[in-house]
Symmetry: C2
Subunit: 300 residues, 2 copies
């Protein structure tokens, strides 16, 4: 089934202990869509500037990502994030943000996208997330991500998002910031009280936790020894989860659990090189092989 | 089957954001033995001072821990560790160490203990660990723990220990220090080259990793929301693992994997209150219930 994603499509300039990548493809929706493209067709809503390469637009198409909802601005430049990872690479240091066309963006969901049964609201302004949810007909299965900036700056709008979605996916720092709870189990339980049916707390190299009415589910990360650039790992994680659910037409908590194993595998692919490079190389067959290895590493 | 443990029996003075405990029962062998006592009978080798309470010696006995190998010094005082946990409580800050009777201790393994088929060398001087291994007859299944101090101060002796044991259990900081590898998967693989058949890297609230010739196995921690004092969690983890193996008479890698789930559960009990208090309250039935909950939280 079709999966709609709204979020940023961007250029990233990233430095890690393993190298530097200048103005490469990035953005929350991009990493999400590249990962989910192994599972299902997608519909992308977002905006890029007049500097965005035609070749990449074509690449989205080749991956089964419909860009009819991607506004290509004539007047501005593409959102550009500059960041750095040091030490154990668990947290990005933002060195610069040029919002550019993203600054004034109002999400426009094409008519043809409004019957999407699966919706992912990647990290974006909560108002954009609410606008997209309002535009979609019926009762889509909707999951949102967010980040520290929106938690601090738009808490009321974000609460509305939490009341409207089926699930929330966020990292451990964001979960602590959102709830004021240091302990992640308490944080997860607190998020549950705010509306969503489930919450996933991503812990990077330490795996993830799923909270729902059926209790807590814990998943380790895929054990990796070659992490080169963590950018986009969380978005790719969500892409694997939502891609799996949309492809199989499921939305049960049991299916979310299984989806998290695919999210884990997609995140482990994303971090092995800069930008979306790993996804340009990895085949679905290789993804399956890694998933088998992961299940072997966690299963009894 | 009988499980021999050598390590420290101590007094701890601990401060955490949740309170302070003054001169309470602690030590690597103590936490290990209290956890393992849910599974099998044990033989304890170590030393305490003339200030050690008779009531606690009796408590060891009640738990099926044979203290015929516990020297009670007439001339000195019991080893005393003072430490503090702050913030996310992932690492202890040592404020003071009074070695006391531990300073001059030479391990003496009673004749009756020398047929032990399972041996755990809790954190201790590597020479003590080697002496105990040499004293035990036959081919016991042996696992060692260690800590930063011995890695830095006695690297050669520690290498000998690694060459002599079946398994090594250590925390992530120690694994990084021992191998010089930041990445834990690389660290685990490096440890494997030094002799042991398997290595377990404990990551505290983030679970554990098992390395062996059969690849890597990853386990999350038990999701807890009431951590009051992490002291002894790693020792209790090893106690659950070794207790399970000794009780079932197993030593296969598959059994080690299952044992790690019991270790995880024992560690989750240990951190819920100061000293060994949680083990004074928790029944085997409650341990089983928590293990069921844990398996539910990680199993597919």
């Amino acid at each position: 089934m079709s999966l709609l994603v709204v979020g940023s499509v961007a250029f990233d300039t990233v430095e890690t202990p393993f190298g530097r990548a200048e103005r490469v493809l990035g953005g929350s929706a991009t990493f999400f869509a590249f990962a989910a493209s192994y599972f299902c067709k997608q519909r992308l809503v977002g905006i890029v500037g007049n500097d965005f390469p035609r070749a990449i637009l074509d690449e989205f198409g080749t991956r089964g990502i419909d860009i009819a909802g991607l506004t290509i601005s004539r007047d501005g430049k593409t959102f550009h994030w500059t960041g750095k990872y040091e030490g154990d690479m668990n947290a990005a240091q933002t060195l610069g943000v040029s919002l550019n066309v993203l600054g004034e963006y109002k999400a426009a969901v094409p008519e043809a996208f409004r019957d999407s049964p699966y919706v992912f609201l990647a990290n974006d302004h909560p108002q954009t997330q609410l606008d997209v949810l309002a535009a979609v007909k019926g009762e889509p299965f909707s999951v949102a991500d967010t980040r520290d900036f929106w938690i601090s700056e738009e808490p009321k709008l974000l609460e509305k998002v939490l009341g409207a979605v089926d699930g929330l996916v966020l990292n451990e720092h964001e979960a602590r910031l959102l709830t004021g709870e240091k302990n992640l189990v308490r944080a997860g339980m607190d998020i549950m009280k705010r509306g969503p049916e489930f919450a996933v707390i991503k812990k990077g190299e330490h795996g993830s936790l799923l909270f729902s009415s059926e209790g807590t589910f814990a998943l380790p990360a895929y054990p990796l020894f070659d992490v080169r650039d963590p950018t986009g790992a969380g978005d790719a994680f969500a892409g694997g989860l939502m891609g799996y659910l949309a492809a199989s037409g499921q939305r049960s908590l049991e299916a979310v659990r299984r989806g998290l194993t695919w999210g884990t595998v997609c995140a482990s692919v994303a971090v092995q090189d800069f930008s979306v490079e790993p996804f340009r190389r990895v085949t679905r067959e290789q993804l399956n092989t890694r998933h088998d290895a992961f299940m072997h590493a966690i299963r009894f």
